[in-house]
Structures are given as C-alpha cells and as structure tokens.
C-alpha cells in the first residue's frame, strides 16, 4: 500500500492550499481529485476578493498561501471597494479569467515537489483507535497516511435542481461523492444540508453591450500578492464589466412562475445563504424593490461566456430564458448553460478544534465548504490552516492557532468552531471586533512571521516585511520627535499635506506612507476599542476545559446551556464564552465548576 504523510481529499480552493502547504513544509503529500482537469475550478463567479474576502486573501498570502498569486496571474479587472469609508474596510476584488485561474493553479500543483495527484473518489476513511490511518477509494485502491484533510466542497451527497429536474452531482458535468458521507456518519459525525445556487452563463456575442453601463477596472492596481512584482502589472489585458438591472417585467415573470421553482415547492430542504439569494428569492423577500442590479462579468478574453452576477436561480430553463430576455441589454441573449441550485451535505464545524482537526478522529481535518462556509476565499484560508496544522502535527510541532486580533481569518475559524453555522457562512469585516487593526495593508506585518515559523515564507521574505514594519514604526517615532504626530491626527491634515513643513522626512514607499498615516490617525480609536474589548477578555479565558468534561453536572447550569456546551465542547474558557447564547451567569457557574474540578 502506498503511504504518505498527508492525504488531501479534493483539490478545489481549500484542497489546493492544503496540499501545497503540506508539500512545501516538506511532507509527502497525496492530492485526491475526481477529475484532475477540474482542479481549482471557479465553480461560481469568476472573482477573487471583495469586502472581508480581499482581507482573507492578503492574510493567506502573508502566511504563504497561493490564491493571491494565482489571482494576480489571471486578473483582468481590479477594483478597490470602500475607498472612502476607511483604510480598514478598503478591499481588493479581482475579476479573473476563469480558465486561466484554473490553469495557473493546476500548473503550480503539478510542479510542486513531494505532491502527487491521483484521480479517484475517496470513499472510506480508515480509522484505527480514534486516529485516521488512510483512505480507501471507490475502486478499492488504498492509501495510508498520518493525517488526512477532507475538502470535498459541495460534492457530498450532492443533488442539483433545475426546475423540477433533479440530477446527482456536485457541479454541472461532475459526479457526487456518496461513499464519503456514509463513512463520515459511520465515524459518528453529524452532517447537515445546505443549498447554494449559480446563475446561467450567457454568450458574450448575444448581449447588446451598448445598452449596459460600462464599469472599467483600475488602471494601475496593486497586486494581490506580496510575491507578485509591482511592475509590470497587471499581467493581462484589462476586461471591462457592465451593469444592467432587472425590471417590473422580470419580476412579474418570476412571480408568475414561483410554482415551478424547486425552492418554493419545498423540493430543496437545505438552507441557502441570505447574502446570496436566488433572484426568485429576492423578488419575493424584497417585493417593494423596483429593480435589482445585475453585473455582467466576462469570463475571459478567449471565453465566449459572461457571468451575470445577481441572477442565481433554479427556475426551469424556459422560465430562465424568458426572464433573462426581459432585462435591458439581454433582449436577444443566448444561454450557454442554465443556472441551477445544488444541495449538499456539510459537517457542522462545532465538531472541530480551533486547528480544524476533528474532535472525534485524531489526524483528520476538515476545511472549506464542507464546514458550511461559502466562497473561494473562506475555503482557501481554511484549507491553508488545515494543511499547516496537519503538517505541523505530522512534524510533531506545535499547532498554529491565530488570535482574533491577528487576522480576519482567525475570526472566521473561531466563529466556525465556536458558534457553528446555521446558513452557509460568509466572512464579513463586521464580525471582527479588531477590524480597525486588521487591514489589507498591514497583513504582512501581522502574519508573515507566522508563515516563516511554519516554513511557508522564506527568511528573506519575512525579513523584508519586518524591515518594512520597522520603517513604519521609525517614521511614527520620528514624527513624534518632530512634534508633528499630533498635527497629523487632525482630521483635515494628511501625511502628504504635512510634507511642506516636514523637511527631514525620509523617502518611504507609497504604501508605507499610507500605513504611517493610518497608524497615526487611528491610534486613539484603536486604543479605545482595545481597552473595551480586552476588558471583556477575562483572566480565566486561558483555562483549559478537560476533554470529556461533564457539563450536565455543573451545578445551576440551565439545560439549554448544557446542550449548547455539549454540542460545541469548547477547548478553553475563552472559547466557551463565545458560544452563542451562553449567558455571563452560565459562564460564572462553569468557572465555579472548573475551579472545583481542578481542586
């Protein structure tokens, strides 16, 4: 039997990061995929980034992940969102050429030393004494491993809906994975059911572009990755996006055909994300809205396809065509593939430790959409952290668990394992209480040292970031010494406008000037927020809760609280404190019981 250090099941956005991380950490790694030609496929919209998601990508990049670099290679349309709302919520979004993105990532995977890719469907997780030891494929092949990372996306027990037609599969043209669901249940994991959807793909040449509003990207964007050279950039010729809108006629067609929608007929039982509703859902829930925005995103220079963002649907094909053609610019549109909804099994992430290792089976890690998340970026960040922690475990090194004040990605993981999910989970900056300090611009200062510690960032790269951080600190100190810091904090003063009276100013790169300005202007607010939030962090937060702790025996604890704690089984008191719906009183009782158990 072939044997590896780590097996990664599934090579989507989470799986690629996990597999690359393990191989780069020096471990022999096997990547299992049902189809090698579909590795790193963007199944839905062809964009990387956006609010909070852009932050995740920059953080992943600083830790030594791959997604940012691939997006830079494939990007044709770069925008910065929230330009005027503050430096912390400013976010990058890149529209990519769908095929190019997959090709770039596939090439990286193929070229990676110690990483072997095998086509096949993982069917059974082999477990001995509560520790994973390998994977058996559908066709009977067996591989041994010391750790397994499962990143199966939407493929577990996947069922696609197009009108009243149902077909088994995780994505159009792909099969579903059924064996693995059975295996997971047999191991005692509970599984839930979620739903997601995708819009039709339109033929570029059938759209009347003159009737749509042009939205060009930025002319000289900053690359997503620290590893992408600043010039020449962008690497690919730009492509413009276009905007159009639904109208009363569109809404009428949708309303008249709700009976044909599997969503409204109760055919789909899985819960879908509120932030990504189907267009029929929007028309019902926001009946007062006269129109909804549609973004027409070209899928690439060579691709004949256009992705109409905002029109996710599972209506029958005939209804889809009619409502599409009611939209300005799409009057004669031709559809290459119709939209559909997909239902799939997810594993409630409260079954995971903060490292993304399962509590039930040692050495087994879950990442990506399997954990109930949504979005390429959320998946990739989890994949990277699961891969890193699987690798560290095999190496016998301490795990990497980031603090909520270090990264949005840490907030993502903490929310997942602590609070669980009741709809597909999307990252938002508002989930992070330390938002003001978790900026795209300082991701390298926050995280590159961690990347270097685990072996994914080179010493040279880490030193470069450390030196840049020093430059920012040094400049702030110099400004203070020159009695200019207080002046810079005034609302109407900028770092640039201060230059005239600041003759000894060193020459700093533009992005570091921006960092200096933010650090100076936000110091007061950041301190205020930190004081408040750290006051909420209790001194007992570091207390470990013993495995198998019996919550039911905690005196005075309500049954509801017991149930919640039994479900989540938090690792620490701080972790328990963030469990949804636990009152401070319940926490006090828990503290009392833990103190008693210690004594």
């Amino acid at each position: 039997m072939e044997s590896y250090d780590v097996i990664v099941v599934g090579l989507g956005h989470a799986g690629c990061e996990a597999a690359l991380a393990c191989a780069r950490m020096g471990l022999s790694t096997l990547g299992l995929t049902m189809r090698a030609d579909r590795i790193a496929l963007m199944s839905c919209n062809p964009a990387i980034g956006g609010t909070a998601k852009g932050h995740l990508v920059r953080e992943l990049d600083a830790l030594g992940g791959e997604m940012a670099r691939a997006a830079d290679q494939a990007g044709t349309h770069f925008v910065t969102l929230n330009g005027s709302k503050g430096p912390a919520v400013r976010a990058t979004r890149v529209l990519c050429e769908r095929d190019v993105y997959a090709e770039v990532m596939q090439a990286t995977v193929r070229a990676q030393a110690r990483l072997t890719v095998v086509e096949g469907e993982a069917s059974v997780l082999e477990v001995e004494g509560a520790r994973v030891v390998g994977v058996t494929l559908q066709d009977g092949r067996r591989f041994a491993a010391r750790a397994v990372v499962v990143t199966t996306g939407t493929f577990l027990q996947a069922l696609m809906h197009l009108g009243d037609e149902k077909s088994v599969g995780g994505r159009l043209g792909d099969a579903a994975a059924t064996g693995l669901s059975v295996s997971l249940r047999a191991l005692g994991f509970s599984l839930g059911r979620f739903k997601t959807g995708t819009p039709a793909r339109l033929l570029k040449d059938s759209i009347d572009w003159a009737r749509c509003e042009r939205q060009p990207g930025e002319v000289s964007p900053r690359p997503f990755s620290l590893r992408t050279p600043r010039a020449p950039f962008p690497l690919r010729a730009p492509l413009d996006c276009f905007v159009t809108h639904t109208n009363a006629q569109t809404h009428g067609i949708l309303r008249d055909n709700l009976h044909a929608s599997p969503l409204f007929q109760g055919e789909i039982v899985g819960r879908g994300p509120r932030y990504c509703p189907s267009v029929e859902d929007k028309v019902v829930r926001f009946a007062h809205r006269a129109r909804h925005t549609v973004f027409l995103e070209p899928e690439g220079h060579q691709s004949p396809l256009v992705y109409p963002a905002g029109l996710s649907t599972s209506m029958p094909a005939e209804v889809q065509l009619r409502f599409l053609r009611s939209i300005v610019g799409l009057e004669e549109v031709q559809v290459a593939r119709y939209g559909y909804a997909v239902e799939y099994d997810y594993a409630p992430p409260t079954q995971l430790h903060a490292t993304l290792e399962t509590k039930r089976v040692a050495g087994l890690f879950f990442a990506g959409q399997l954990n109930g998340t949504s979005g390429y970026e959320e998946a990739a960040f989890q994949g990277l952290l699961a891969g890193i922690n699987a690798g560290l475990q095999v190496q016998g090194a301490p795990a990497l668990v980031l603090g909520r004040d270090e990264a949005h990605g840490a907030v993502l993981l903490d929310e997942l394992v602590t609070r669980g999910v009741d709809e597909p989970f999307r990252m938002m900056t508002s989930r992070s209480e330390h938002r003001l300090t978790l900026r795209e611009g300082n991701a390298e200062f926050r995280l590159r040292a961690h990347g270097a510690r685990v072996g994914l960032v080179s010493a040279v790269e880490a030193a470069s970031s450390a030196q840049r951080a020093d430059q920012v600190r040094g400049e702030l100190a110099r400004l203070e010494g020159a009695r200019l810091l207080a002046k810079l904090r005034r609302p109407e003063v900028t770092y640039a406008s201060l230059a005239a009276e600041d003759v000894h100013r060193p020459a700093l790169p533009e992005d570091l000037c921006a960092e200096v300005e933010v650090e100076a202007k936000y110091a007061g607010y950041v301190k205020q927020a930190q004081t408040t939030w750290t006051r909420k962090v209790e001194s007992h937060d570091a207390w470990r809760i013993p495995e198998g702790f019996r919550y039911a025996e905690v005196r005075g604890l309500s049954r509801e609280a017991v149930e919640k704690l039994e479900l989540v089984r938090p690792d620490t008191v701080g972790h328990a404190r963030r469990v949804q719906g636990l009152t401070p009183a319940a926490m006090s009782l828990l503290l009392v019981a833990l103190r008693a158990a210690k004594a």
């Binding site: 919209n45 609010t51 909070a52 969102l81 929230n82 005027s84 709302k85 503050g86 430096p87 912390a88 919520v89 994300p273 509120r274 932030y275 990504c276 509703p277 929007k282 829930r285 926001f286 809205r289 909804h292 925005t293 973004f295 963002a309 905002g310 996710s312 938002m428 900056t429 508002s430 989930r431 209480e433 938002r435 003001l436 609302p491 202007k521 936000y522 607010y525 205020q528 927020a529 408040t532 909420k536 005196r555 005075g556 949804q580 719906g581 009152t583 401070p584 009183a585 006090s588 009782l589 503290l591 009392v592 019981a593 103190r595 008693a596």
Partner: protein, 533 residues
C-alpha cells in the same frame, strides 16, 4: 488566598454589629480581640465572649461563632463577632483584627463572591439574598420585589431598535457597498436622538441606583450657619452637639434617615471659616472628601452671608442645594438678593477661582464611613446559622455585581409613590419673596417640610425612576460614551470608525438586554438589504 474582614452590618448604629472574617487566618485574627474562646472551638456553636482592645481592656461582650471550612457561607473558615452596634466600638475591633498578618479589608461584595466561587451559593441565590438585604427601605423592597418592568423594557427597546437599524445600515454599507450604497448617509443625524435617549435613560437609572443603595446627602457651609441644628431636626434626634459657639461640630457625623421611602445617609460636616493654618487646611480636606462622596450637597448659609461668600461656597461642588439656615433669627434673609445674588436654576454660582473657604473646624472622619460595603439582615435566610449574615453589594460596583449579568432577570421597576414634583422653593418665595431659595430653621422647624420635599425631588429627579444595579448603570454609561464618540466620529473620522463605536454601544447595551449582538446585526443587515449575486 488572603483572609478578609469587614463589618457585616450597616454603618448606622443598631442593636447588633457583626464583624465577619473569612479565610485561613480568620480564627487567629479574631483571637486578637476575643477572650473566652476555647483553643478548638466547636463549629457552629455560639460562644459568649469578651471583646477587648490590643492592651486587653474589655470593651464589650457578645457572641463569637466559628464555621470550619468548607461548611461555611464562603466555603472558607469563617468567624463572626456579634458585638453591640456602636460604630466606634466596631471600628476599634475591626482595626485591631486588620492588624493581623495576612488579613485585609474585604472589597464590596467579596464575601458573596467567595461564596459563589466556592459553589456555596448559586448565582440566583447570591443575587436574591443580596437584593433582599439591600432593600433597607420601603422603596427598595418594592423595587426588589418586582420583576423586569414593562416600562424599562420598552425604553430599552426604543433605544435598541433604532440603534441596531443604524448599525445595520452602517455595517451594510461597509460589508456590502454595492447593495447598501448610501444607507449610511444620514448617520450623524440619526445619532443625535440616540445620544439624547441614552442620556435620559442613564439619568433615570442613576437615580434608580440611588434608591437601591441609598443616597448620601452632605450638609456643608460656613461655620455657625446652623448645619448641626438642621441635621438634628432632619434626623429627629439630638445627635450633633449644638452650641451657639462657632465651630462646635468637629467630626463629620452620619445618620440614616428615610425620606419618602428613600434611604438617605445624612452627613454633617465641620463648619469652616476663614483663617490660615495647617489644621484649617486639614478641615477643608475632610469636608471636601465628604463632598466627593455625596450624591447631593446641601450648602447651608447663615443669614448674614455675603454675595462673595455664597459664590465661593457654591463653587466648591457641582450644583449644591442652597438653603439659608437660622431662619428663626432672620425671617427674610438677604432681602431681594442684594447681599447674595439670585441663584439660577442650573446652579452656577459665578467664577470658579474663588478664595477657599476655611475655618477652625478640624473634624475627623468617623471610622466606619468607608466600611459600609457589607451589611447583613438575619431575615434573609432563616434557620440557617451559617447563612445568617450575607454580605451585600450594597453600594459599589463589585466583582460579584459584574458576575450578576443575568439577562432578562434585571429586576427593574418604575418606582411609583415618590414625592410629587413641586415647585422648587415655592413656600420660601411665598413667605419671603426671595425666589428659588429655601430658608429653614432647625430650631423652629420652619421650612423643614419644604427642604425634605426638595431633597426628595432632587434625588429622585424629574421623570421616571428605574431601579437597576450599579452594573447596569455602568453598561448604560458605556453606551452613552460610545454613542457620543460615534457622533463625534461621524463629523471628523471615517465610516469604519463610526461603525466601531456603534458596535461598542450595541455590545454594552446587549449586556442589559441579553441580546446576542452579532446575530442581531446579521439579521438586521439581511432584513434591510437585498444582498447577493
């Protein structure tokens, strides 16, 4: 774990005064003042003992009880000394006990916290017992008996709903810039009423907290203004030594009275007068210290007070209640205000840089003043000796109070039956034609009714009174501060800064409402915006 000690009974003189010690050194420390206790006392047995000073002189006789760990209220070794309730005696005994190595004064509520952390009482019981004992006066009993009032819930919701809507709009604009475009446009204007609302709520809550813990009213003013006579008249007893000679009162004196259901600790300070010297300066410090701890300061002026004197005294504290003493001597003090200026309703008295009043009073603060933290009431838990005296989180923010966040169980009530609003100083005006001014005589009782009403009106304030714990006042203060900062940030900073302050406000408010702030926010965002691609 250190050993703690404190008075377990209230600060005013009563029949029995209890000193409680808890911790490993409890017995050893108690032996410094207890005579007649066996080497190995039987737990839960009441011994008749003598209480002595350090030199061994017998000061009093009373009961000593010993509870062995863990079968005690706190789960630690506990000793209780039941002496006579004379404040001076108790302070001497406590001071001696505190001299023992490893013994310190308990912080407010610390006994209950230890009891709670050792699993001896559950939170609900700790709270219920504490509340019952704290309910020293009629109004408190009513407040403690009632459950969450509909009025307070409504007022919190009236703050919470628009605050959450604003937060959702602002966060929506940050996280979903395309779908929620422009939702944050009028954030500054929407913050104004929220700030006003929370300030009004905070004012009512602070008055409610006064009812819960009782108010401190401090009489101060120049020497020989008639403070002590007034003090005695208000408490209905001859506690303060009264003499026509200036500067008779040398110590600060305290007494508990009940005014229209409100528990009030009345404090009489040494009169102060002009005159240099270190001792006078010391006297000023004592009075100032008393004023710092006051919920309401009453400036008692002699009939012959000048405009300058009045301004100088008035500047000492924020908005004192001003009364003219010795109304018996001078039926119409300061006719038409030519000697002293006419007071504005907001209580500004002119320039702050006024000469410091001084005098010959050199009072010493009576020893028990600072140890009012723990009080007991044997009615609380009958038939259980070890629980007889349960400490209370009576006056201050305590750690236990912090642990008491039981959402939805905040026992708050709009207190009815408080004194009706009355026109301030109306009778004075009628009688003497001097507007907005109270003339009283402790000797004849003239103006006393009006003064009592005025005290109640000032302490209870206008509008509703909501009874909340100090912890909840703290939470409301945090809401107020965060909203004020958000309002400022809306003018001078970025939207993400406004959002950060709103988030702090919402989280502080959720400590009152028990709401799950982050879930609420997501729900509100998705209800308000059609988000998605």
């Amino acid at each position: 774990m250190s050993t703690i000690a404190a008075l377990a009974t209230g600060p005013s003189a009563g029949g029995v005064g209890i000193i409680r010690l808890s911790g490993p050194e409890a017995l050893g420390a108690a032996r410094r003042v207890v005579r007649g206790l066996p080497d190995a006392p039987v737990p839960r047995h009441a011994y008749f003992t003598r209480f002595t000073d350090a030199a061994g002189a017998v000061l009093d006789e009373g009961l000593t009880l010993y509870f062995a760990a863990p079968k005690s209220f706190t789960g630690e070794a506990v000793v209780e000394l039941h002496a006579h309730g004379a404040p001076r005696l108790l302070s001497m005994l406590l001071a001696e006990v505190l001299r023992h190595e490893g013994v310190r004064l308990a912080t407010p509520g610390e006994f209950t916290r230890r009891a709670f952390l050792s699993g001896r009482v559950d939170l609900t019981r700790a709270e219920a017992v504490a509340d019952l004992i704290a309910a020293e006066s009629e109004a408190q009993v009513r407040a403690a008996a009632a459950q969450l009032s509909g009025e307070l819930t409504a007022r919190l919701e009236a703050l919470h709903a628009p605050l959450l809507a604003l937060q959702a709009d602002v966060e929506g604009a940050l996280d979903f810039p395309e779908e929620a475009e422009g939702a944050e446009a009028d954030a500054a204007a929407r913050l104004e009423p929220l700030v006003a609302h929370v300030r009004s709520l905070l004012g009512d809550a602070k008055r409610g907290a006064l009812i819960r813990r009782g108010a401190r009213v401090v009489l101060y003013g120049p020497v020989n203004a008639g403070k002590s006579t007034l003090f005695n008249a208000l408490i209905g007893a001859n506690r303060a030594l009264v003499d026509a000679e200036p500067g008779t009162t040398r110590d600060t004196l305290e007494a508990r009275v009940e005014l229209a259901g409100l528990a009030v600790t009345l404090v009489d300070t040494a009169g102060l007068r002009e005159g240099a010297g270190r001792l006078e300066a010391l006297g000023i410090e004592r009075t100032k210290e008393a004023l710092r701890g006051a919920d309401l300061a009453v400036l008692v002026l002699p009939p012959e007070a000048t405009v300058e004197q009045r301004a100088a005294w008035g500047a000492e504290v924020n908005a004192p209640l001003e009364v003219w003493g010795k109304a018996d001597l001078s039926p119409s003090p300061c006719e038409s205000g030519e000697r002293a200026g006419v007071r504005g309703r907001t209580g500004h008295y002119g320039p702050r840089s006024t000469p410091s009043p001084s005098g010959q009073g050199r009072g010493t603060v009576s020893g028990l003043e600072d140890q009012r933290s723990e009080a007991a009431d044997p009615r609380a838990v009958p038939n259980q000796v070890e629980l007889v005296a349960v400490p209370v989180l009576a006056d201050q923010r305590s750690e236990v109070a912090d642990a008491r966040a039981v959402p939805g169980q905040v026992d708050l009530v709009a207190v009815s039956g408080r004194a009706e609003q009355r026109t301030r100083g109306s009778s004075s005006r009628d009688m003497q034609g001097a507007p907005d001014r109270l003339a009283v005589s402790g000797l004849t009782g003239a103006g006393l009714v009006e003064l009592r009403d005025e005290l109640v009106a000032r302490l209870s304030g206008a509008g509703a009174v909501i009874s909340v714990s100090e912890r909840h006042v703290l939470a409301l203060e945090q809401v107020e501060e965060a909203l004020s900062r958000a309002r400022l940030a809306a003018d001078v900073a970025t939207l993400e800064v406004v959002a950060g302050e709103l988030s702090l406000a919402v989280h502080a408010l959720s400590e009152l409402t028990g709401a799950d702030a982050s879930t609420d926010l997501l729900d509100a965002i998705f209800q308000r915006f059609c988000i998605g691609k």
